[in-house]
Symmetry: C2
């Protein structure tokens, strides 16, 4: 936990406004860490609806199981998150710990325990001492406030080197609605310190179906388009809570024109948070954008982009500031999607390097080499098959990643 | 290329006997490297049959395209391999280079150019100056010998830190047949120094169909069960040449009982070579065997094993000698195959750590920690679904991998 901060760490946490119907508080519960915030509670006003997406891992943890069941009701009154222990692979004791936590929160807030969302992030396979959490709920309840975003963003961190938050506004029926998001994750998965967690709170008035649809489609363009190491967490969770306090008439259908601005704001917020996660990727020194064009479909483009973005050889080359585009050719080749080798066109930093399956005669490596020395690396890969496209974001693979992960738990 | 040798490097290259009908020679052609062997030629007696498997990459190189066509005839008279340039992503010039090389070899050995196999390994996307190869063919032809295995194994190396060879014998109809194999590869793929290449030469008398069937099934149990970094080469090639000089009657069917000993010998030879490749994996300090049991099918077991074996988090934990089995849980969860979390049983170094989806109460980490300090790491993962099983071999992910790959080309 004493690894140097990411070079992308912002000078300060962004100013995040209150969201009507949302109050938060955080504390030091000592779940695993000492001397830092590691527990946060959020209360949502009655009537708040929720949508979300969670890890597809078949070894998902007890909290994910709980939330999968809770989300089916579409209602939310609270969210409680601890860092330091993921409560994964902990059997019945783990399930009991989630249930006790939800029960304690429900008692404190006078709500149904099935409306309480519980998330845990940290080591896998160690029993969670839920007493450290439940003992703090009363204290957390007593100091709930609409502005405690930075503390909440800090309380959910594991190997993150900076807290992550973002805000957007949009108009629905002429009413300004606010979207605030916080996230944690130092990789698509951090070490066994499993996980990406992200929460969006908005006062927009949305039906459950609209909430679920918007967050699912937004996830595909943001968190599902980033990778640090290709390892998928047992706890990945993205939830959006809509309190309905903005006062416009309820949006009941995803097709309504009046929520297009909200959708764009949400997508932008999610991409912002996703970029913050990648930029805090373990050991990251470079932020990499991979644009794939000309694929058979958008899904195929995404698969090819992830093949490039997950390739240890591509990522180490970028760490070495080496414009080694042959490794991109390799990663396209192994993706398992259609690509026309003899039309493959690769550009780095806006400089076209290959065309029609060959290096461009007289291609000048100078500008590309200069681009590789920067923090932000862009590449475009046209695979010459169709019109499918996707953008993937990742970071480089450095000695820092090995340092962090070869001795995390010890 | 000045990286330290693998700790698994053998004290000396094994003594490999001649194989009737096979003669080799190697030289310094200066394709890319100076002052080392980088070109080898093998001549096969007329009547030699060939089978093999090649990379499935859609960006495969010109030599792979050539060999895919050549192998359809089932006949082989020569194999020529250069190191230093993979002749991949080189367009028509690349295809012409292969054709000229095959033509020159065919002229020198008085054979059909379509019976000449051509392999290249090295950087991607640079034009191969085939003159450096064709100029040397006459010299190579003049010094062909039945015993020049070590030179041949050295000539095909790229980032390998030691040459790789192995021998087996078997009996068919009471006749002793010999199988000799050489391989290169410092990873399932080495850097952009693409590739795993392996060649088996035998004097057994086999039909083309039997040769192809044996090598394909052997590949699944050996080279297709190893991984260094999950990156698939544009040039991976495994070929078996059977000269038919042993004198027993031809094996025409894969079902013949009398070739079972040969099959076992071949499988053992391929696993031996595959292990040598993993043990020379870039930066490898540990050799890891992952046994997966209880999967839905053998294919599912292999997929789960590769998910574990390719996980950067599992591999860095092992590099750090950390028995961080939570990362194995994670890798099983993300594999995309069925697994019963609540039956998942993990053992490391023979010590059972989890049962029924939980750590075993009172599990003693001592013996496991001691095991993690060794060179050879074993783990067994029972996913609790069915009877499918597979064994995967890999190496750890260390600072050495970053060193080698972050600055390879420059």
């Amino acid at each position: 936990m004493e690894h140097p901060p990411s070079p992308f760490a912002p000078a300060r946490f962004p100013a995040l406004p209150p969201v009507r119907g949302v109050r938060l508080s955080s504390c030091e519960a000592g779940v695993r860490y000492a001397g830092r915030l590691d527990l946060m509670l959020t209360e949502f006003t009655p009537g708040t609806v929720v949508g979300g997406v969670m890890t597809k891992s078949v070894t998902a943890g007890a909290p994910v199981e709980w939330n999968r069941a809770a989300i089916s009701n579409g209602k939310a009154r609270a969210l409680v998150v601890n860092a330091g222990n993921a409560n994964v692979f902990t059997g019945k004791r783990g399930r009991d710990a989630v249930e006790k936590t939800a029960h304690t929160v429900a008692e404190a807030l006078c709500c149904d325990k099935n409306d309480v969302f519980v998330c845990s992030t940290g080591t896998i396979g160690e029993y969670l001492q839920e007493g450290r959490i439940t003992d703090r709920i009363e204290g957390l309840t007593s100091k709930l406030s609409g502005s405690a975003w930075e503390e909440a963003a800090k309380a959910i961190m594991t190997t993150d080197t900076y807290p992550k938050g973002a805000v957007r506004t949009a108009e629905i029926d002429g009413v300004t609605v606010t979207l605030v998001g916080i996230a944690k994750g130092s990789g698509m998965i951090a070490p066994d310190m499993a996980t990406m967690l992200a929460y969006v709170m908005t006062d927009a008035v949305l039906s459950v179906e609209v909430t679920q649809s918007l967050i699912a489609s937004g996830a595909d363009k943001s968190f599902n388009a980033i990778t640090v190491d290709g390892d998928t967490s047992t706890s990945d969770t993205l939830l959006m809570f809509a309190t309905g306090k903005a006062g416009h008439s309820r949006a009941n259908s995803i097709g309504e024109e009046r929520i297009e601005g909200f959708r764009r704001a949400l997508d932008g917020l999610l991409i912002d948070l996703a970029h913050q996660v990648v930029k805090d990727g373990e050991g990251a020194q470079k932020f990499i954008e991979i644009q794939v064009l000309g694929a058979e479909s958008d899904d195929a483009a995404r698969c090819i982009g992830l093949s490039v973005g997950n390739s240890p050889l591509v990522k180490t080359a970028i760490a070495g500031e080496d414009a080694n585009w042959g490794r991109i050719v390799m990663a396209v080749g192994k993706a398992g999607e259609k690509a026309d080798r003899d039309k493959l066109a690769i550009a780095i930093g806006g400089t076209q390097i290959t065309e029609n399956g060959e290096p461009i005669p007289g291609y000048d490596e100078g500008p590309v080499t200069a681009h590789m020395r920067g923090r932000d690396i862009t590449m475009t890969v046209d695979v010459g098959i169709g019109t499918g496209q996707a953008t993937i974001w990742t970071c480089d693979l450095t000695h820092g990643y090995i340092d962090i992960n070869a001795d995390y738990r010890t």
